[in-house]
Amino acid sequence: MIQIINGLVYGSFLYVLAVGLVLLFGLRRVTNFAHGALFMLGAYVSHAAAAYLGFWAGMAVSVLVLAALGVVLDRFVFRPLAREEPIVTLLVTFGLLFVLEDAVRTIWGKDFISVAAPAALAGSVTIAGSPFPVYRLFVIAVAVVVAAALAIWLRATRVGLYVRASSVDPVTTGMQGVDTERLSALVVAIGTGLAGLSGTIAGPLMALSPSMGGYIIIDCFIVVVTGGFTSFTGAFVAALLIGQFHNLGLVYVPEVASVIPLLVMGVVLALRPQGLAGPGR
């Protein structure tokens, strides 16, 4: 029981991170290799800000800083490269990943930094007879709020409609008079802001280190591919699935746990090459 909730925690966390990539892919048809590095940067920014302002303000600072960085990225990387092959953006963001990791290592050092959960969430509750940290439940709550907010935004607002339309066909959407460039800047900012959010909530879950992004981005990519690239629901289901298998793997077969998400994905793709929720061919 506890293990299943732990899997849910990791899945929730993966969802908040992966959905940023799904948003970006919908608008720009590219993938940001530096997403894990942005997540890592978000964790450090919130840690640095929290030293002066406390955990919650640190979270806000991290989300805002990363969202601003997202606007810059969109303006100077994704937009100019939109005419090129998607692989060009992938390579450039890959280079960016090296630069960001080096910058963080230079500023904050390469040692692990552990972060305590905020006082309000520090305790634990009893679930099925064993104690469980409140903070981990909070992570699940964050993912639920993010998923619900995104669903409402995408389904019930005009901008959300534009985003969905643009995910299906950016060119036609642009022809209908939607400013897809501004839309893209907004969506990239939301995606990187979510990377800042997930970096913040990752702090008390795992120790901060410059390489934390490289580790997490792998599972994140697996989630995006398994989910079918453009589907928010697909990413949600895939994140929970991968989170569950990842965690059960860590508990029962720790030696080979790392290949389990990959095997899950292999099975899904062998049955459905377009992913869980990808468009049929």
Partner: protein
């Protein structure tokens, strides 16, 4: 694709010219250890030659499948670990193990390729990275097999293929072995690129649907290119295992995959030899960076961004554009 239209005699003489050039390059490179006394320089050059083979493997996959691998260290590390594990468990004679360390990653790549080369390019890139990192974690965590962070020593017999093992472990002789292997790989891939198979895979890369309409099956050739590329990465891993007699999870890590990819991009993948040239430039820049090596990741990151944006076909692309002779032939 004018090579198909040229008469067979011209094609034969083209192949002969390629082999002649390879022989000249092999001989010239093999002479270097007599000219360079510094063991340090030879060590660096040996490492560069091994990494160049890995980069050529990455470049070949881009050239013939249009797929960019971010995880080629998987096959490199797999080969080195297979050798180390064979030394430990004595499954087969060392000579057979060297061969198996090339064949098994290739077979694995072929089977995995049947699933993943069908995916759009971005997904392929992400999955190759995921594959390599999963193997890296596997070797790191599964201490009983992979030895964890400490890695494994590659136990080799005193004599291999009838020659003393020290031949493979002293930089002056190992450089010659690696250099000749590199030239042979480039020549072999050059011949494959001119063959029916090479032209077919380029055609599939350009337009898979059209190739299918003409009546070709497209999945198996694409998976075969992936397997061939994995075999070459495996060869690089074997040479690394022989030379270092030691393997750590670092040989599976994404920084190695990334470096090989960066070499391929810097050198350009239109020419088979482009990535090898990229490896030379890469090591020269690394050597020149000197005191700045602490910030080496940022330097290669910036270099990658600059080359991707400014020189889309890499250095070999620039050279091909200045030399008019190859213009018509570049696929």
């Amino acid at each position: 694709m004018s090579a198909t239209a040229s008469p067979p005699a011209a094609a034969r003489s083209g192949a002969a010219r390629l082999l002649l050039a390879a022989a000249v390059f092999a001989a010239a490179g093999a002479a270097l250890p007599w000219l360079i006394a510094s063991q340090l320089a030879l060590t660096l050059m040996t490492q560069a030659a091994i990494n160049a083979i890995l980069a050529v493997a990455v470049g070949f996959l881009i050239r013939h499948d249009g797929l960019t691998s971010f995880g080629h260290a998987a096959f490199y590390g797999m080969a080195a670990y297979l050798m180390a594990l064979n030394g430990r468990f004595d499954w087969m004679p060392a000579e057979a193990a060297l061969l198996a360390a090339i064949v098994l990653p290739a077979a694995f790549a072929f089977l995995a390729g049947l699933i993943i080369v069908r995916l759009p390019g971005l997904a392929f890139s992400m999955l190759t990275l995921a594959l390599a990192q999963s193997l890296h974690e596997l070797m790191l965590r599964w201490r009983q097999i992979g030895g964890g962070d400490d890695g494994l020593s590659v136990r080799l017999p005193a004599r291999l293929f009838g020659v003393g093992i020290e031949l493979f472990q002293s930089p002056s002789s190992m450089f010659i072995v690696c250099w000749i292997a590199l030239v042979a790989v480039v020549a072999l891939l050059g011949l494959i690129a001119r063959s029916h198979f090479g032209l077919l895979t380029v055609a599939i890369r350009e337009n898979e649907e059209r190739a299918r309409y003409i009546g070709y099956r497209t999945l198996a050739p694409r998976a075969l290119v992936f397997a061939l590329s994995a075999a070459i990465a495996g060869l690089a891993g074997v040479l690394f295992g022989l030379y270092n007699a030691f393997v750590t999870p670092g040989s599976l890590h994404w920084t190695l995959s990334g470096e090989a990819l960066i070499m391929a991009i810097i050198g350009g993948t239109r020419a088979i030899w482009g990535p090898a040239l990229g490896a030379v430039v890469f090591f020269a820049v690394k050597d020149a960076a000197g005191d700045l090596t602490e910030h080496w990741p940022a330097i290669i990151g910036a270099l990658l961004i600059a080359v991707t944006v400014l020189l889309p076909h890499g250095i070999s692309g620039v050279l091909a554009r200045t030399g008019t002779r190859d213009r018509a032939r570049t696929p």
